[in-house]
Symmetry: C2
Subunit: 349 residues, 2 copies
């Protein structure tokens, strides 16, 4: 099953079948391969090889006397070959220096992260015609820059958190305690001087630890402050950016309505996808999950191409494309890789 077992011609034929099928979704026959891809052998020979490939589980026929289509394993072999060889043609119509310009565009948007990630998923999906996903920087990767606490309406407090990555978040806290603005300022100052440079999660852990420790002092200022901060920092930020559902329904792969329902269900279950991407957020380079390889039931008939983006050396988030298993893998890989690179660039100093 190792691809080393395939001689060069067999590989070429597998390639031919996969690429042809990706190009248009019809089973590809021996005559066609022999004609279109000049491999210097006759349909009959190709038939023999195809029969072998089918035996190995890389190809399948929808029914006797139809051409072959790739199986998930066939795609896998194809993608492995792609990834281990030189970059291919992406098959997308992209200007030569699209991504250098695009990096500048993102750079200009870095002040509005959620806008930026919307832009990213839109671009991902509109160029590739697949579903674009992006996971913004993880909370355990965002670094505390400063916090401000404002008194607001009665005893409520508005907490505004700014991170080094430029993310700004706000939250209203209904603290039972009636602090005045001066006290709030003192608390904020304390946090700002004490915790600059830590990640949000680290600070949270420290604070929670302190709460436990200082229970006794429950009513003094510091412990109330800690309680406020703990609330302020618990931004349950389960957000994920998705776009391109509307392009994807036009793909021939989704001409069957049940397929559309599948993909709709998959997207509806955002938390599952979130979990998947989170798990992938420590991987290096481009990852491809093909059909049945997919850990999530809902995605078993789809493929996912992901890449992480970084701030310096730290991987802080993920972008991805979801499409049919019959996917333009070179193109998707190319897109995801370069978009991730663009994002990384906006995060470097």
């Amino acid at each position: 099953m190792n691809r080393k077992m395939l001689d060069s011609r067999t590989k070429q034929i597998l390639f031919a079948v996969v690429q042809s099928y990706i190009g248009n979704p019809e089973p590809v026959g021996s005559r066609f391969v022999s004609k279109k891809y000049a491999l210097g052998c006759s349909p009959a020979t190709i038939r023999n090889v195809m029969a072998d490939l089918e035996e190995m589980g890389l190809l399948a026929q929808p029914h006797t006397s139809a051409g072959r289509i790739p199986t998930d394993i066939g795609y896998r072999m194809y993608v492995d070959m792609l990834l281990s060889s030189e970059p291919q043609q992406s098959g997308l119509d992209i200007e030569k220096d699209f991504f250098t310009e695009y990096a500048d565009k993102l750079e200009a948007m870095k002040n509005d992260l959620s806008g930026m990630f919307s832009e990213v998923t839109n671009t991902l999906s509109s160029i590739s015609n697949y579903i674009g996903l992006a996971l913004p920087p993880k909370p355990d990767c965002t670094t505390f820059n400063r916090i401000d606490l404002l008194k607001y309406r009665g005893d409520q407090i508005v907490a505004i958190l700014v991170t080094d990555e430029g993310v700004i978040k706000n939250r209203i806290i209904g603290s039972g305690s009636n602090l005045d603005q001066k006290e709030l300022n003192r608390i904020a100052d304390y946090l700002n001087t004490e915790y600059g440079g830590y990640t949000i999660d680290e600070i949270r852990d420290i604070l929670i630890y302190r709460i436990g420790k200082e229970k006794v002092l429950w009513d003094n200022l510091i412990s109330r402050a800690i309680k406020i901060c703990e609330q302020a920092l618990s931004f349950s930020d389960e957000d994920i950016f998705v776009s391109g559902f509307y392009d994807v329904v036009n793909l021939p792969d989704f001409s069957d309505i049940s397929r559309i329902k599948d993909i709709a269900r998959a997207i509806k279950e955002k938390h599952l996808i979130l979990k998947l991407l989170n798990e992938l957020s420590n991987t290096e380079g481009v990852q491809v999950m093909i059909g049945s390889e997919n850990p999530i039931e809902e995605l078993r008939k789809l493929s996912v191409v992901t890449s992480t983006y970084k701030e310096g050396d730290r991987k802080i988030g993920v972008v991805a494309l979801i499409g049919p298993t019959r996917m333009n893998y070179p193109g998707a890989i190319y897109m995801v890789e370069n978009i991730a690179r663009c994002i990384s660039r906006t995060f470097e100093r």
Copy 2:
């Protein structure tokens, strides 16, 4: 064409056809109406009436010798009758006091408006199985409460705006001017004392006016301050909440793939829907637009049910449902109406 022209029995038959067709999407025949709805007359009579209704353009047959289905005009008449009569059965499975509890739930979420509106659209769509929409409070309706300006990284400024409605927005301004925190505080104080109670749009207008007037003084503090504020207040807030696309594909009305593409395109064109809802944001009570009545090309095969919500007497936003023309109108109206009421309640003091 006026419904006064229809005698009681004719109305009843129209009602029967519409309701039956809404209940299950098959052309309804004379025999069926006569049996299921005890109108005390034979199929033949009903056939005659149906022929009349068809002549009037309220019913249509998909083909000769099929039953009748309602036309858009037929639905319109039905809905008009609904709206002018007592509230009907919603046809939804909702607890008696669902909405009183739901209002409490929203009340508890009012600190996080975007979370609240996500919740609203989710509820709208999951109960109705149509597409839920919500337009958050319009900027010309949100009242300035306070603003804070924080120095951030180099000469950038973080502006944080709190409105009376509890909306908090932030924005990074790349002001070329190098003000220190003290000066920023002074600017913020100035705004806070001067403009409390005005709406954002009003303040913007005033500021823009001043910019024009004080062009001469371009480089003094005040004019720079004004410029900053102008930027700070220009929250291009084109957000609209949508959900339920994933439920809607399961409706039999969208068993045809082209219909799904239609609806996907309609939603993709968010700005059009935004415009539509904005135009409706001054209407009173529940509005229904049926199929071809719709001003937006993309929605011509769908129906939209909307209602505004208020803060006191001011209408400040819109909620809506989009579904097939073959829609459970009583249910949709009931939902939209009550959800709007719930939202309004969270905005009253």
